[in-house]
């Protein structure tokens, strides 16, 4: 299915909040919601991928979200419990952001060469 661009601000507020929240606590799963049907959970996960695509199309619209998507690899996962299905989102730092954050002096030197 092909995606069409829509402003990132028009996505559900719960999704935008969840992404920001997940980025505050990296590597910790953040619960996006509970669903009775797995299809609904999958649809919301697809919405996050669509949001990422839209943010990347024009980074100037939501620079804060673009920064989060650059800095973190956002993964969704679905778990099943006795009530239904739970959708989680986890922000994992990318290798580049990890390198820049933990090796600031070396990163400055290297980035000055490649950029």
């Amino acid at each position: 299915m092909s995606w069409h661009y829509k402003s990132p601000m028009t996505f559900p507020a719960s999704v935008l909040v969840a992404i920001r929240q997940a980025s505050v606590f990296p590597n910790e799963p953040y619960m996006l919601g509970g669903f009775t049907q797995i299809e609904k959970a999958k649809r919301l996960a697809e919405k996050i991928r669509h949001l990422r695509w839209c943010v990347k199309q024009d980074a100037t619209v939501t620079p804060d979200l673009n920064l989060i998507f650059n800095k973190f690899d956002l993964r969704t996962s679905i778990t099943e419990d006795h009530l239904g299905f739970i959708l989680w989102i986890t922000a994992r730092p990318t290798k580049v952001s990890d390198f820049i954050e933990l090796n600031p002096e070396l990163a400055d030197e290297v980035l000055a060469v490649i950029e």
């Binding site: 290798k95 580049v96 990890d98 933990l102 090796n103 070396l106 290297v110 060469v113 490649i114």
Partner: protein, 143 residues
């Protein structure tokens, strides 16, 4: 010829680190947040330099850097603790280089048979006398 893939920012950083180690001839230490990140970075560094090491991409500094240095993983006690990667000199190469005189070998002994044949034929060509130039009035320019 297949089109060359654009190099990602991550790989550019890795190549810059290899080059820095080679140009400054120093051992670099890189900090990673946990074990899996350190392992992934180490694999990425080797993947990034592979085409230069194999001769598919041409960059003498990077090729020599791959020959001279290795990436060593310094493990921490816990998986989730910060781990370190060290770009170290290849110990075997440094030791063998130091043992050149004792072993009684020089740079020529390191050549393979094909390379020796090429070198010999080049020497022969260089040793051959140039054909004597015949001066005729026809080819001289009148001032």
């Amino acid at each position: 010829m297949p089109a060359q893939k654009p190099i990602s920012r991550e790989y550019r950083i890795y190549l810059a680190l290899w080059r820095k180690a080679f140009l400054t001839d120093t051992e670099l230490t890189i900090k990673a947040s946990n074990l899996s990140m350190a392992v992934a970075m180490r694999q990425g560094m080797y993947r990034a330099i592979r085409p230069f090491r194999n001769g598919q991409a041409n960059d003498n500094e990077l090729r020599e850097a791959a020959e001279k240095f290795i990436i060593f993983l310094v493990k921490a006690d816990e998986k989730n603790d910060p781990h370190f990667l060290q770009i170290r000199r290849r110990a075997t190469l440094s030791e063998l280089d130091a043992m050149f005189d004792t072993l009684g070998i020089d740079e020529d002994d390191l050549l393979l048979s094909d390379e020796r044949k090429i070198n010999e034929s080049l020497k022969k060509i260089a040793a051959e006398k140039l054909p004597r130039q015949v001066k005729t009035p026809f080819f001289t320019r009148d001032e």
